[in-house]
Amino acid sequence: MTAPALEAIFREEWPRAVAILARVLGDLALAEDAVQDAFAKALERWPRDGTPRSPGAWIVTTARNRAIDRIRRERTFARKAELLARLEVISTDEDADVSTIPDDRLALVFTCCHPALAVDARIALTLREVGGLATNGIARAFLVAEPTMAQRLVRAKRRLRETGIPFRIPPDEVLPERVADVLRVLYLVFNEGYAATTGDELVRRDLCAEAIRLAKLLCVLLPDEPEALGLLALLLLQDSRRDARIAPDGELVLLADQDRSLWDRDEIGEGLHVLRRAESFRRPGPYQLQAAIAAGHAEGTDLATIAAVYDALVAVDPSPVARLNRAVAIALAGDAETGLALVDELEGLDGYPYRHAARADLLRRLGRAEEAAESYRTALALTDNAPERRFLERRLAELGRSGEHREQPSG
């Protein structure tokens, strides 16, 4: 068996094993250590003896035995006996079909995305425990030193234990908001790989792929949740444009100027298919609507129709950012005056660079160069991202050259 094939099995089986041990032991850190031990053993045995008939069951059984060893080495007796007794419920049949192992992965997802954890901790825990990524990989993706990421994970697991955050699927009355918390974490993971353009391109690409993989897992675990499908569709459709959004010279390319032959047709097809499945539930939500907008761009839908989907989006998500996007869509659909008036109405976005960049763009289209320049400068002062800065600087320079001449909308 090749190393990548082994890696794929590990990533697939990791959350199942961590979840069942965490539920039984009530301690995520102990569960993770035992599963880590089991994987180390697999790495040693499998290439020599061959891959077991049921890799998942082998891992769970081995992790259970490793947990027993670890607990036996503990100092005190009372807790030891209790934990050992709890492990009895896990099957010792390493050839068993994996479907006979209780699936606690959904509880694991909810626990890692619990709102009592800081958002950074939720992201790191989800990638580690559900995604099975190694700490150094997560650290690289988030551009922090490995000890920093290790510390973040240790603190998060300690907080889970000390606060007594339950390892469970939340009860129905809070389920919708907790599902929204989970979807948000996955979207943040994706955005970290997609929006940021610093760091190793391959690492970022992998992070997007990981977010998509986790979204697919979530769709399996929550088959009746159209917003999970909506998120997956959105991620696929955004990811399909990845190669077109950065030019060979590293510059950012806006949607309207992208080379469509670089869009990933297969990924678009998959995204559209998932979106149709989501929409068949007839329970729209913010992710489905954002995916519908992305689908509109992929299919070349006219901008007025896309602007209308933004109206629906703002109705379910009246956040300032959603309203900003709607204003831009209206402007791109041909009504820059209305778009600008809507942008100027927004409150609470003064520190948000995209608001100023959007305002600048609309003023530029309306031929109000001086005001546009001022907004570009405000946006620049708020932006650290290098390609975005270069983009804004280029636009600012163009304004200087074109003077008071009105530029044609490019939209």
Partner: protein, 118 residues
């Protein structure tokens, strides 16, 4: 597991409040305590006297240093607490959200430390 719910609220506002309004709040607290008691969750709880009555003591180099006033001067001061016995952190948060001060001040929820080795 036991959780301490620390009730933080604007003390000045409380002091300026007319008695009838204050009584209405007390009734809400009594209602919370009845519900938590009936659910077997309530372990203990009390309102604290105003922070003007607080005294902070420190011992440094065997010398006792006593200062008047609370440990930290904040607008939303610690004004009371409940000890709640809940099956999980989520339950503790649900109960804490029902404490009247959660609607205008803040309720900090802290698990009471349990020695894992004990």
């Amino acid at each position: 597991m036991e959780y301490l719910a620390l009730i933080h609220a604007d003390e000045g506002e409380w002091e300026r409040m007319p008695q009838v309004e204050r009584d209405a709040w007390y009734e809400q607290y009594a209602e919370f305590a009845r519900a938590a008691g009936a659910a077997g969750v309530l372990v203990d709880g009390a309102e604290l006297a105003a922070t003007t009555s607080a005294t902070t003591v420190r011992v440094r180099d065997d010398e006792r240093l006593v200062s008047d006033g609370p440990y930290a001067e904040v607008k939303e001061a610690l004004g009371g607490y409940f000890v709640l016995n809940c099956a999980s952190f989520d339950d503790a948060l649900d109960w804490a959200a029902r404490i009247p001060a959660a609607a205008h001040g803040a309720v900090e929820v802290r698990p009471v430390h349990v020695d894992a080795e004990a």
